[in-house]
């Protein structure tokens, strides 16, 4: 009897890029639900728009590059980028902002560098930073979280849709009625006005550690992160180093003077700290591959996030910190090459 032959290995673990991307998406579901619970359906709308923009850009780039569109377009990476990008956007966001972010993230940050696997910068963060510096007012439009005890008007789905499509709210609603400063903004502004953290924390919108509502979104993101760790999609080094770096800086400053420095818990549960640690910094393509490299890379993101939040002009610094550390990856990999078995140190 005759048989077909092939070179070894003859089999393969049941892992795939598509499977990894799917797990990442499942891990984001709790956070997505929490987001909808506290901030309304805006994130779903933004995710949908971001996904359409991402797929269209990816298809166009693959076609321009003369590559077949079929397998690469549906590997799930564009979907993950779109959802992560939508997590950075305020729930009230005009559609063209979302589209511009994704066209830049996928078209320039990903495909201009060679597509999946070759991009230096995290596409979601590149897209977000572009719209953050281009549309600063739009990026500051966070509705207050729906926690029941605040005196404000919550934009309903119709209002969200209206704002998304036209860039304005329906008659009778004003921006000031539906949007509030985020807690990171409040803290930065308050500290700039020489208020103490205790005074700042009396404002509505603050929760136990970070922003009321938002800290629950962050909790859910952390839960998703642990799912990724358990499913071996990510390794512990990067998130531990990001959170460790941020926590170390925040704790040192807080111990020096708790009145003028937000608590370590506030740093951990505000802004993009959890998303950055578990879902952004762990992007395999734009982060180091060695264990030691990941520790340095993560710690760099954590420290830079603190530095930008404290001394920079932006309230949050995760996206900038990630992009800055993306640049160091080739160098980190060269420095942290393991010693080859059997060779002298």
């Amino acid at each position: 009897m005759r048989f077909a032959t092939d070179l070894p290995p003859q089999w393969h673990a049941t892992v795939s890029v598509g499977g990894m991307m799917r797990t990442v998406l499942y891990a984001l579901v709790p956070a997505l639900l929490a987001h909808v619970w506290f901030y309304g359906a805006g994130i779903l709308l933004n995710s949908g728009i971001a996904l359409l923009a991402a797929l269209a850009t990816e298809a166009a780039c693959l076609r321009l590059g003369g590559k077949p569109t079929a397998p690469d377009l549906f590997d799930g990476s564009a979907l993950v980028t779109a959802v992560l990008f939508a997590f950075c956007l305020p729930p009230l966001c005009p559609w063209w902002v979302t589209v511009i972010g994704m066209v830049f993230g996928i078209g320039v940050a990903k495909h201009a560098y060679g597509g999946l696997g070759y991009n230096i910068f995290n596409p979601a963060m590149a897209g977000y930073v572009l719209v953050l510096v281009s549309f600063p007012e739009a990026m500051a439009l966070w509705p207050a979280p729906d926690i029941g005890d605040l005196d404000y008007l919550r934009p309903d789905l119709a209002a969200t849709l209206h704002y998304c499509l036209l860039g304005s709210l329906p008659d009778g609603l004003t921006i000031d009625a539906v949007a509030r400063a985020t807690t990171l903004d409040s803290a930065k502004e308050g500290l700039g006005l020489m208020r103490t953290m205790d005074e700042i924390r009396t404002r509505p919108g603050f929760g136990d550690f970070g922003g009321a509502g938002w800290e629950w979104v962050n909790n859910c993101i952390a839960i998703g992160g642990f799912v990724l760790l358990l499913r071996s999609v990510i390794r512990w080094h990067t998130p531990a180093a990001v959170l460790g770096g941020l926590l170390t800086m925040a704790t040192l400053a807080w111990l020096l003077d708790p009145n003028t420095h937000p608590s370590p818990g506030f740093h951990l549960f505000s802004g993009g700290a959890m998303l950055g640690a578990f879902f952004i910094a762990t992007d395999p393509v734009s982060s180091p591959t060695t264990a030691r490299g990941r520790l340095i890379y993560g710690a760099g993101i954590g420290i830079l996030t603190y530095v930008i939040r404290t001394f920079g002009s932006y309230a949050d610094g995760v996206a900038f910190a990630v992009l800055l550390m993306n640049v160091t990856v080739p160098l980190l990999e060269r420095w942290t090459r393991p010693r080859v078995y059997g060779r002298a140190g």
Binding site: M1, R2, F3, A4, T5, D6, L7, P8, P9, Q10, W11, H12, A13, T14, V15, S16, V17, G19, M20, P71, D72, D75, G115, L116, G117, Y118, R235, P284, V285, S287, P288, T289, T290, R294, E333, R337, P338, R339, V340, Y341, G342, R343
Partner: protein, 446 residues
Amino acid sequence: MTDPIAYDAQPRRPAWGVRTPLRKSLSTRQPILVAPPPPLVCISLAQCPGAAARATVAPGQRVLCGEPIGEPTGAGRPRFHASISGQVTHVEARLVAGLGAPVPCVVILGDGTDQRWPGYPPDPGADGRSSGDLQAGLAAAGLLGLGGALFPTAHKVHTATGAPVLLLNGTECEAYISCDDALLRERAASVVAGGRLLLAALGGQRCIIAVKTDMPQARVALYNALQACGDPRVVMSVVTAKYPAGGERQLIELVLGREVPAGGHPADVGVLCQNVATAAAAADFFLRGQPLISRLVTVSGGGVARPCNIEARIGTPVSDLMALAGGYQREPRRLIMGGPMMGVALPSDDLAITGATSCLIAATDADLGPAAEEMPCIRCGDCIEACPASLLPQELLVAARTVNAAELATLGVTECIECGACDYVCPSHIPLTRHFIRAKAALAST
């Protein structure tokens, strides 16, 4: 209280490697099946790497089972024996299992009597003999490393003479293969006796028999055999069931904590590594007068009706062993010699087995899983964690694709043991090992 038989208290757990499905119990449900002498054998005279042996028989000549048919052509080369009694029909180049090109072979048509050649009398007092005498005996027996490399045992022992540690490898870390497990379950005393003989031939001080956590029956049998033997120099060590923990260098690192220098040999760190089946074969020769004429072969996979371990004569056609295991079922997709990681896919089952044939897998789609399409590397780093040689496969891939010889050498492609662990875990299904094998060959030829 320390156990005099256990070398270590805890199983040795590697930081590298992969966990694959093991599927060894498929073939260990029934005892070893001793195959009757087959009607025809085709014995390769070039089983180990290097020059082939010179045939000492001619077509038409009658030979007895165990009679020498091929004499070594140089120092350290092995001798080959007829594995059945009968008449030599051909001495010619033929394809055998596991090699891509025809090699010199002796074909014997059996007479069914299995009459033994009387030239090797049993020697019950062999363990009292000198190291030199024993090494000569190993050479006469035509012993080859039965772990799969088929390196001539006498030569390997000779070059390592005086190494203090003999490490007997019974860890067979590849999936499906269970022949060492079966050997230890049923013939542990033979392994221990052979270990002592090899230790005497080596002039070493200690023999460590390494087994794996997932072979409990074999461990009990070995433990009992060691207790019955009562030689304090022979102990056992247990390593975690992880691939490729059974690689020579990997096992030395795991059990002894020593690293074989790049380009060096285990003897450089005072170790001689041999497979447990080789030890049992040494015992068979010295104590029963039987040279290397047979080996245990695992016949397994979803494509065969009754998976089992068969004691088969060297040179038996694969199809005979498949028939003994109940024949094919469910349309096997591949016929693999060895394990699914490093094994070779055979083009046909009329090929004859060699000493390297530890396992034959009639693999169905359910065994191997679906074939997957190659994607770009996403730099996940899983290959780095899997690599037992601490290489960076994803960087080696770039260097191999760009044929950057300097970078390949710096990154250590020569230390790649071609285990396939990086391929196995790659979510982008990149055939990394193939690239490295090609790159190694290209580097060696410049």
